[in-house]
Amino acid sequence: MKPTDNTPRCRQAIDAEISALLDKELAKANTNPWFIPRVMNRLPEQSRWGRVSVWQWVCYILGVAALIAAAVISGKWLIHTELSLLTLTTVAFTSLMAVTCAAVMMVPSLVRILREP
């Protein structure tokens, strides 16, 4: 099979030989143990929000959604209920809902604090 033969099969064989030749004879880059550290040092500083993972975002969003839902439900209930019917239990329950929503949002931070040595 001569290099001047132009059949697809011949071209494939020649291409394979050329690939092998170039892989063997072309210069290789020197091993540089500092290359990766240099690249990583050049990366920009991580922003505070860049450190937040997906599940943390889920907690934050769920917490905010729960707070909004609690506020809307409480507001609607208060509008349609006479203030004289407002009891300590009601106030406590509403406050507990708000604290629970805040706690959901704080879960990622709490986990991080507990994980720190």
């Binding site: 290099p3 071209r11 020649i14 291409d15 030989e17 050329i18 690939s19 030749l21 170039l22 892989d23 004879e25 072309l26 210069a27 290789k28 880059a29 020197n30 091993t31 540089n32 290359f35 990766i36 240099r38 690249v39 990583m40 050049r42 990366l43 920009p44 991580q46 860049g50 450190r51 937040v52 993972s53 997906v54």
Partner: protein, 180 residues
């Protein structure tokens, strides 16, 4: 190969979802040797420029990782960035005349000092050096990186006919080395 591809997908997902720098460091480790070799031969042996371009490529890749849609492979995307960086460098540093480099300036030694510079190696280096830049680029992508023509079209932005034409001419030059 499938395991490596899966590992790459996992690492990319970590980079995109949580800016995981350890995952990116592993991606750099996987691709740096091949990319640096490609750039070394594209720049006709300029080691300092090779490392600069490679660093810029990975930096740009990190900054743009969230825009990587995975429609092409990560390697294709990375090499496209590398070629854009090289083109930018060429535009900004027109005073560097790569075509005019003497054979004596060309770094053709391997990392191992014990590797003898053979006549074949000199011949291959000489042929590559004298190829026009776009032909050398396509040749390296096809023969050294073993990328198919369609991937080369995506990386370089050249029409398929132009890529095949460059390859045909390069094949003509390089096949003469096979008969020696």
């Amino acid at each position: 190969m499938a395991n490596r591809r899966l590992e790459e997908i996992k690492l990319l997902a970590l980079c995109m979802a949580s800016d995981n720098r350890d995952a990116f460091s592993r991606l750099v480790e996987i691709h740096q040797q091949g990319l640096r070799r490609f750039l070394l031969n594209l720049t006709n042996g300029n080691e300092a420029l090779t490392d600069d371009l490679a660093q810029e490529t990975f930096l740009k890749a990190w900054l743009a990782v969230r825009s990587f849609h995975g429609l092409s492979g990560f390697k294709t995307w990375l090499y496209r960035i590398a070629i854009n960086e090289f083109s930018t460098y060429r535009r900004q540093a027109a005073r560097y005349d790569f075509a005019g480099m003497d054979a004596g300036d060309l770094v053709i030694e391997d990392a191992s000092a014990s590797v003898r510079v053979t006549d074949t190696r000199m011949d291959v280096a000489s042929v590559m050096r004298h190829l026009p830049e776009k032909e050398r680029l396509v040749t390296l992508l096809f023969y050294l990186e073993e990328l198919p023509v369609k991937e080369i079209v995506k990386i370089t932005g050249m029409p398929e006919g132009t890529v095949k034409s460059h390859l045909s001419r390069a094949r003509g030059h390089l096949s003469k080395l096979l008969t020696r």
